[in-house]
Amino acid sequence: MNEFLQQLINGLSLGAVYALIALGYTMVYGVLRFINFAHGDVFMVGAFSGMYLSRWLKPLLAHWPEWLFAVVVLAGSMAFCGVLGIVIERLAYKPLRERPRLTVLITAIGVSLLLEYSGQLLFGAAPRGFPSLIESRSLSGLGELHATNIQAFVLTATALLLGGLHLIVMRTRMGLAMRALSLNPTAAMLMGVNTNVVISFTFGLGSALAAAGAIFYASLYQAIEPFMGVLPGMKAFVAAVLGGVGSLPGAMVGGLILGVVETLVVGYSKVLGIPPGYRDAVAFVILILILLFKPSGLFGKQQREKV
């Protein structure tokens, strides 16, 4: 039982990261109806900007409490990636907005490769250790279970970010505009919604969340490299589809489910008879099942294709 709960803790902290990345996919899809395949690489940039930020800031903020330092690095990295997301949208996707979806999709793959290989050129291909923003300590009072303060920080910060996101989408004018745009872009435009601003904002927000996910991922698993975004990016995409693309609670729940399932498959590989090497396959088997049996995902609305 203890081992099961322990695996659950492991799975939830991994799932929180998937959820944060999945939100970016889902938000962009909601507004633009297109999957931004460069999202996983923005995630990678988030991790590296976090690493450099923490190196530069460490001497300046040495006397600060470490959680505050972690929050500053987190915010800085989110801001950087938010801007990067906006720039990518302006330069690569905006000129193609009236073109067929496929054109934009392929451009997204191009942007993804550009980021990966620029990363390799700038940072080198060897995996780098991520500086620990918070000294890892075991939390006491859990009996046989072990959770670190980093895991607690990740889960708390994820919950806060999701709460904040919910407020933005549901309680602000910008959120209202986002929802209007995702419902009917033409009608929203006719009602005076400035689509360019809303789309930029969506990209910025999604990329900032990816950066947060990256900082958490790097804090949990400590090694970062230019291709680190590929697999988590794909899995977060699966998480978004699992929850229903376009649905914010769906992306969150999808991410958590995926993280837990993946961890349990590895942890109980002997019992289940699935070799742990198949951990990455699990996500894609889930994707296939979802597409076969519930293409709109757990929280997605069935949409009729407009002719």
């Binding site: 060897a126 995996p127 400590q222």
Partner: protein, 357 residues
């Protein structure tokens, strides 16, 4: 190729993981190899010709090794091939060299299957049945009888090392209490480690490469597993400490040589390497250096660069004084050499003992 070029130089190919997950290995072995070629040329070359090294990067990726090796053979018309460190990628290149009749020397691939591919494939290091035995004996000598094993199923090296370790341990009084696996590139090992924790091992064998092993150490400590870790020569990279930090302190691994060894050959190499690259060489650098030196020696003895004659000369290599010890290539085309055990202490790899074959 212009005929004049063909007579003035001997083209030697090298493939290495200059980037990607095991970039540290490729970079090191490449530096060692390049330094050897420079030295050979400074001393007048071989057979009156300059040696020219053509290096290709396989990006640590499966499949890429075969592509770059074919390119080296067909486009660069190499006379011999040096590389790789990782056994999986040497195994991709070996059949291609065997078929083309081009002698190949792997500096550091320890999986036995590599040289079993054919009589054109050689190596200048020991093999994993020996390394597995060394590690198992070491664990038993420390009275670590309950061992958990974590294997990288994507790497022939790791699979082989775990298997040979287990074979020796289980007939010599130890037990393998848990066998877990992962794939290269994984970053989350908590699920496997949680399963391992329940079996209370004395020691954990992480038979994969340095990045994953560093992460395994970190995550084991986070789950409050106090058992030390042991590993093979795949740990030999400064990245192990960069990634693993304090978590890898007190862990042990087997290796080909130690920079603390006072042997003159090693100390001279150390100094030359330091002067050239301003850093300390690791085992991969020394083996890369040795592989090029052995090739040059064989070309001199063969008096030609024709494949079959060069192969015969390589196979006849006997008591060659290399940096990593006296090298005699046995009939299986492997080098019988001793191994050293190293301990990670204060971020350095400290010499513990030498184990003879």
């Amino acid at each position: 190729m212009a005929p004049s070029e063909a007579v003035t130089e001997i083209v030697v190919g090298e493939f290495a993981s200059l980037s990607g997950a095991t970039a540290s290995f490729g970079q090191s072995s490449h530096k060692g190899t390049a330094m050897a070629v420079d030295e050979i040329n400074a001393a007048g070359g071989v057979l009156g010709k300059k040696m020219r090294l053509v290096s290709e990067d396989d990006q640590s990726k499966p499949g890429e090794a075969a592509t770059v090796v074919r390119k080296l053979i067909s486009r660069e018309r190499i006379v011999a091939l040096l590389g790789e460190v990782a056994s999986s990628r040497s195994l991709e290149a070996a059949p291609i060299c065997q078929q083309a009749g081009i002698p190949m020397i792997s500096p550091a691939s320890t999986n036995p299957k590599v040289t079993e591919v054919g009589d054109f494939v050689f190596r200048v290091c020991f093999i994993d049945p020996f390394q597995g035995t060394v590690l198992s004996k070491f664990a038993l000598s420390k009275n670590w009888k309950r061992v958990a094993i974590l294997t990288d199923v994507k790497q022939d090296y790791s699979v082989g090392l775990s298997q040979f370790f287990k074979a020796h341990l289980s007939v010599n009084g130890g037990t393998v209490v848990s066998e877990q696996s992962y794939s290269s590139g994984d970053k989350d090992f908590k699920a496997q480690l949680t399963a391992i924790k329940g079996t209370t091992p004395d020691v954990i064998l992480a038979s994969g490469y340095y990045t994953e092993s560093g992460l395994i150490a970190l995550q084991a400590r986070e789950l409050q597993i106090a058992a030390p870790l042991i590993g093979g020569d795949g740990w030999d990279s400064p990245s192990l400490v960069e990634v693993g930090g304090k978590a890898v302190e007190g862990s042990f691994f087997s290796n080909h040589f130690s920079v603390e060894d006072p042997a003159p050959a090693i100390q001279t190499f150390l100094k030359k390497f330091n002067d050239k690259y301003h850093e300390q060489p690791d085992a991969m650098a020394a083996l890369g250096y040795d592989s090029a030196m052995i090739l040059a020696d064989a070309i001199k003895r063969a008096g030609t660069t024709e494949g079959p004659k060069l192969r015969d000369a390589l196979a006849a290599t006997k008591d060659f004084s290399a940096v990593t010890g006296k090298i005699t290539l046995n009939p299986q085309r492997n080098a019988d050499k001793s191994a050293v055990m190293l301990e990670v202490r204060n971020g350095q790899f400290k010499y513990v003992e030498t184990v003879a074959p």
